[in-house]
């Protein structure tokens, strides 16, 4: 027996307990109270159903009704996602603004995909084709950059009996498929429960870099398409700037940016900036490939918990079309805190620092939805979904549970360091503690596709930085002057790598993005100086002159050399060689 309506018995902040909902399932959506607020069942004990409510619960009390919807928290997937800005449960914030005003009022509702927009459906499949889940039925030009593929829904297979070009809103039927259970009208929109990963044909190990244009990341701690990375750092160390830079410049086809429990003004920044900025590959505004999810810190905490799932489901949907998708979540700590808050209200036995015992598995299940895959469907379409999560550890302490649970599953660690930020070294990524487990894969790729010396140069540069850190300890004790000349030369090379290569100004138009070939040329120039100076020093060239040869000024400005000017780097190398040879021995 099942009931479609129950009653509230308890309200405690965003948690409501209801009775009389027998038959309701875990994670089913319900409408709570006289206001009909959206909620989701997160625990069932006997006849007590615990519900997390996505809106402020003031005015809800025992005796008020709770209605079942029979459906798990789901998102709408179809043309119209690109350029949208949603809250954590996929309500379009621009529409809410137009309909309800500047503040988000309770019970506000608006369809996730705008029904007033007409799309032109261009069929790919033909009548008589036998299709399975994931097969492309046709396409819609969604934005200048995105061809939206209308796919057969994941659990459907059969024979296409009707398909034709049509123009209409997302609900328009574009094809009829004859399935085992009879004919099925397929429209341009699908619904999918957010907590359930969308199926793929199979997963592959990532083997292509996700180029970000950020020198410290691409060269030393590269990310792979379909990989996972985390960016932890204390406040003020530049997490959000790093996330924004990745959202802007990563060479993904689609970017899903989840602002989870962060500042409202930051989302405004994204909203104002992305339509202005041009994608370096296509020259079109970045907004043309972006979906934004904004659940700021003061918006309801339960919706914050849902926001990363909403984001990743949208990302998976675009991956299924065969795109490379990058998802940025800023910040997963706020997401974990939302879990902690709900867990506390449920009076669950706490794990570390009050976080629920399932924190680790929940974080792992989120990051595991990434991957380089062969998508569902018969055409063996490759696609990828990369996840980059920011973490905001309290007091900048990386030993706290969220950072630790994240590090157990992610393959790339970009550790932000407030000491570097304090010294105005940006991006403040600590090159001694950060790591990437995709280094081998990317080295192999870069050696084959860019330059056979890629790996060798990269590891030498890193060795210089490591050695510098050791020497610095010594310098602190005895002073720079006490170091042998070779070591002082090495310190100089390290300084050049830090200041002229690693340091990158996100707010300078010329410096904000560097292509891989240019990164390689820039690093090569610095290593070239070191390679020339070392033998010269051994032959007796004076150290002080070596440290101050005139072309070094130009090396410090080399990062601003235009992308296509390869000649400039070669002539700079030549001038370095000449300047060193001209020194007396």
């Amino acid at each position: 027996m099942s009931n479609n309506e129950g009653v509230v018995v308890k309200v405690s902040g965003p948690l409501v307990v209801a009775r009389g909902l027998s038959g309701a399932r875990m994670y089913e959506m319900v409408r709570v109270g006289n206001h009909g607020l959206f909620g989701e069942i997160i625990e069932i004990r006997g006849d007590d159903y615990s519900i997390q409510v996505y809106e402020e619960t003031e005015g809800i009390g025992p005796g008020q009704p709770v209605k079942r919807t029979g459906e798990a928290l789901s998102v709408e997937l179809g043309p119209g996602l690109i350029r949208s800005i949603y809250d954590g449960v996929q309500r379009p914030l621009d529409k809410l603004n137009a309909e309800y005003g500047d503040f988000i009022v309770r019970g506000a509702e608006s369809a996730a995909l705008d029904r007033s927009v007409e799309w032109v459906f261009d069929p790919v499949a033909k009548v008589g084709d036998v299709v399975q889940g994931g097969d492309v039925l046709g396409t819609v030009q969604e934005s200048k950059l995105v061809v939206h593929k209308i796919m057969t829904p994941p659990n459907v297979s059969g024979k296409v009996t009707k398909i034709a070009p049509v123009t209409g809103n997302v609900d328009t039927t574009v094809a009829v498929i004859e399935t085992d259970k009879g004919p099925l009208n397929v429209s341009m929109v699908q619904r999918w429960p957010v907590r359930q990963p969308r199926p793929v044909r199979r997963k592959l190990p990532p083997n292509v870099p996700l180029v970000t244009g950020q020198r410290v990341l691409d060269m030393f701690f590269p990310m792979a398409k379909g990989g996972t990375a985390c960016v932890p750092g204390p406040f003020g160390s530049g997490k959000t700037v790093v996330q924004h830079q990745l959202a802007k410049w990563a060479d993904a086809n689609i970017v899903v940016y989840v602002g989870c429990g962060e500042r409202g003004n930051e989302m405004t920044d994204v909203l104002m900036e992305f339509p202005e900025l041009k994608d370096p590959q296509s020259g079109e505004p970045l907004m043309e490939r972006t979906v934004l999810i904004a659940n700021t810190s003061n918006m309801p905490v339960a919706a914050r918990e849902a926001s990363v799932f909403t984001g990743i489901t949208i990302a998976e949907y675009f991956r299924d079309m065969g795109y490379s998708v990058a998802l940025m979540a800023d910040s997963t700590s706020r997401w974990a805190e939302a879990m902690r808050e709900m867990s506390g209200r449920l009076e669950e036995m706490p794990g570390e620092e009050g976080y629920p015992a399932y924190l680790g598995s929940r974080i792992a299940s989120f990051y595991e939805r990434s991957g380089s895959v062969i998508c569902q469907g018969s055409e063996e379409r490759p696609g990828s979904l990369s996840i980059i999560g920011a973490v905001s550890p309290p007091g900048g302490d990386f030993s706290e549970p969220v950072v630790q649970a994240t590090l157990r599953v992610v393959k790339v660690f970009w550790g932000l360091d407030d000491k570097l930020a304090f010294a105005r070294h940006f991006p403040a990524i600590n090159w001694l503690t950060s790591y990437s487990l995709y280094l081998d894969v990317v080295d192999k790729w870069a050696n084959e596709n860019l330059d056979p010396k890629w790996q060798e140069r990269r590891s030498r540069a890193m060795a210089i930085l490591q050695r510098e850190a050791e020497l610095e300890e010594l310098v602190r004790l005895v002073g720079m002057d006490a170091l042998p000349s070779e070591d002082r030369l090495l310190m100089q090379a390290a300084k050049m790598i830090r200041e002229d290569f690693l340091h990158q100004n996100a707010f300078d138009d010329r410096d904000t993005y560097t292509s891989l070939p240019k990164q390689f040329r820039l690093l090569s120039v610095i290593l070239h100086y070191y390679d020339e100076a070392r033998p010269a020093l051994a032959e007796g060239a004076p150290l002080s002159r070596l440290l101050s040869i005139e072309p070094l000024e130009d090396v410090s400005r080399a990062k601003l050399i235009p992308e296509d000017d390869t000649e400039a780097f070669e002539s700079l190398k030549k001038r370095i060689t000449e300047a060193i040879q001209a020194l007396p021995r």
Binding site: S12, E58, G264, S297, N298, V301, R340, G344, G395
Partner: protein, 459 residues
């Protein structure tokens, strides 16, 4: 209508009372609690479970006895009656006038919890606010719609600084209406008198609304105070088109009240006993700063908090730093040297400064001067530290110059009078005067054109 008055209080725990046998009660409802002696206290519903309601009592539970309490549920949340006439008035933590003036006739009643601003409706903060304090205006520029806290410590002059900002803050465009909303949470009588007297003396009170909860006022009332203040601010900003500066002091006391309630409810504590939802709770205060597209008013926040043991990693400053757009840190060593306002320039930061400076907003050379002063002062401070370890003789000539610069910077740029209201031009002029100590060739962060134009000419 079912009866909504109950004399069935069963438990009193800390600031909470538990009422049994209730019906039709909703979460967040405001209550009147009548005592045997006829006095009343106010409370709000924190939890309802079947026929039991947990009510937090704002005035505290001292002197209450379960048997002689009558709890009346008012079927609405906590509301504040707002009106333009609130300007120039002083209220207690619950929005009742305490300045012997007439009662406010409200234009409307607003729920003090407000609603979250739609991120899509926000306009980006990028207009300069001049506070008259060089270290803020020039180096950590405040813009309209920003939230910039002061991280201070006990015994430091943050109150004087907050009062000075409240007095001097203005936007550079003429004809804009400006107001200050001031919320005191658990500050002492002396501090409160200082603020009120200062506002009266300078006439600033005419454009100010004050909410006062003193150290001996009920601690739980502090939960409501910042929300009262921000509700008044939102009304003035978005319905009366005013630029509102909200000063909240001291957030540490607020967080402590929150912890007290959390402990009484036996919630699982987060760090240092503060509740796990401290971040969310603080954000519902701080995020009420901002600008809205198409509205001319704005809310700018200046929260003040004292860091326990001057520890920046304590949960209160830490979580605040994650929400606010920068921080102004007060330095104990500078204060000990007798420098007012003792702003610790190097770790202080305004995240939105870049959007509020430059030609048309302040002056074209602002960003360059800011970077150069910052870099030079950082070098000077480093050199000073080096001198402590290795001795003065180890310093190079340029290091000695930088040490001199750092001293002069502290003495002439950071130090200013409590009534000294410097315009941005005056601050820039002092900055250039100081930069003149350094050879032109060393001013690498300032564009040549600006050096040409602004570098002080020697006689």
């Amino acid at each position: 209508m079912v009866t909504r008055e109950y004399s069935t209080t069963k438990e009193i725990i800390g600031p909470l009372i538990m009422v049994e046998g209730v019906e039709g009660i909703t979460y967040g409802e405001l209550t009147d609690i009548k005592l045997a002696d006829g006095s009343t206290r106010r409370g709000s519903v924190l939890e309802v479970n079947g026929d039991r309601a947990i009510v937090q009592v704002f005035e505290g539970t001292a002197g209450l006895s379960p048997r002689d309490l009558t709890v009346k549920f008012l079927a609405k949340g906590i509301e504040l009656g707002v009106s333009q006439d609130m300007l120039g008035r002083v209220f207690d933590g619950f929005g009742r006038p305490i300045d012997d003036g007439p009662a406010i006739i409200p234009e409307k009643w607003l729920n003090i919890n407000g609603n979250p601003m739609n991120p899509y409706a926000r306009d980006y903060p990028n207009e300069f606010i001049q506070t008259g304090i060089s270290t803020i205006d020039l180096l950590n520029t405040l813009v309209r719609g920003q939230k910039l806290p002061i991280f201070s410590g006990s015994g430091l002059p943050h109150s004087r600084m907050a009062a000075q900002i409240a007095r001097q803050a203005r936007v550079l465009k003429t004809g804009e209406k400006f107001a200050v909303v001031f919320a005191a949470m658990g500050i002492t009588f002396e501090e409160s008198e200082f603020f009120i007297a200062d506002f009266r003396r300078t006439g600033a009170i005419e454009r100010a609304v004050l909410f006062m909860n003193l150290a001996d006022d009920p601690a739980i009332e502090r939960i409501a105070v910042p929300r009262m203040a921000l509700t008044a601010a939102e009304f003035l900003a978005y319905e009366k088109d005013m630029h509102v500066l909200v000063i909240l002091t001291d957030l540490t006391n607020y967080c402590e009240a929150l912890r007290e309630i959390s402990a009484a409810r036996k919630e699982v504590p987060g760090r240092r006993g503060y509740p796990g939802y401290l971040y969310t709770d603080l954000s519902t205060i701080y995020e009420r700063a901002g600008r809205i597209k198409g509205k001319s008013g704005s809310i700018t926040q200046f929260p003040v908090l004292t860091m326990p043991e001057d520890d920046k990693t304590h949960p209160i400053p830490d979580l605040t730093g994650y929400i606010t757009e920068g921080q102004i840190i007060i330095s104990r060593p500078l204060h000990a040297q007798g420098i007012y306002p003792p702003v610790d320039v190097l770790p202080s930061l305004s995240r939105l400064k870049d959007k509020g400076v430059g030609a048309g907003k302040t002056r074209e050379d602002h960003a360059d001067v800011m970077n150069q002063l910052y870099a030079a002062y950082a070098r000077g401070k480093n050199a000073k530290e080096l001198a402590v370890v290795l001795g003065e003789s180890a310093l190079s000539e340029s290091d000695i110059l930088m040490v001199k610069f750092a001293d002069a910077f502290e003495d002439r740029f950071i130090r200013q009078g409590e009534d000294e209201n410097r315009t941005i031009e005056e601050s820039l002029a002092i900055g250039w005067d100081l930069l003149a100590m350094i050879p032109k060739s060393e001013l690498k962060r300032v564009r040549d054109a600006y050096i040409e134009k602004y570098y002080p000419k020697k006689d």
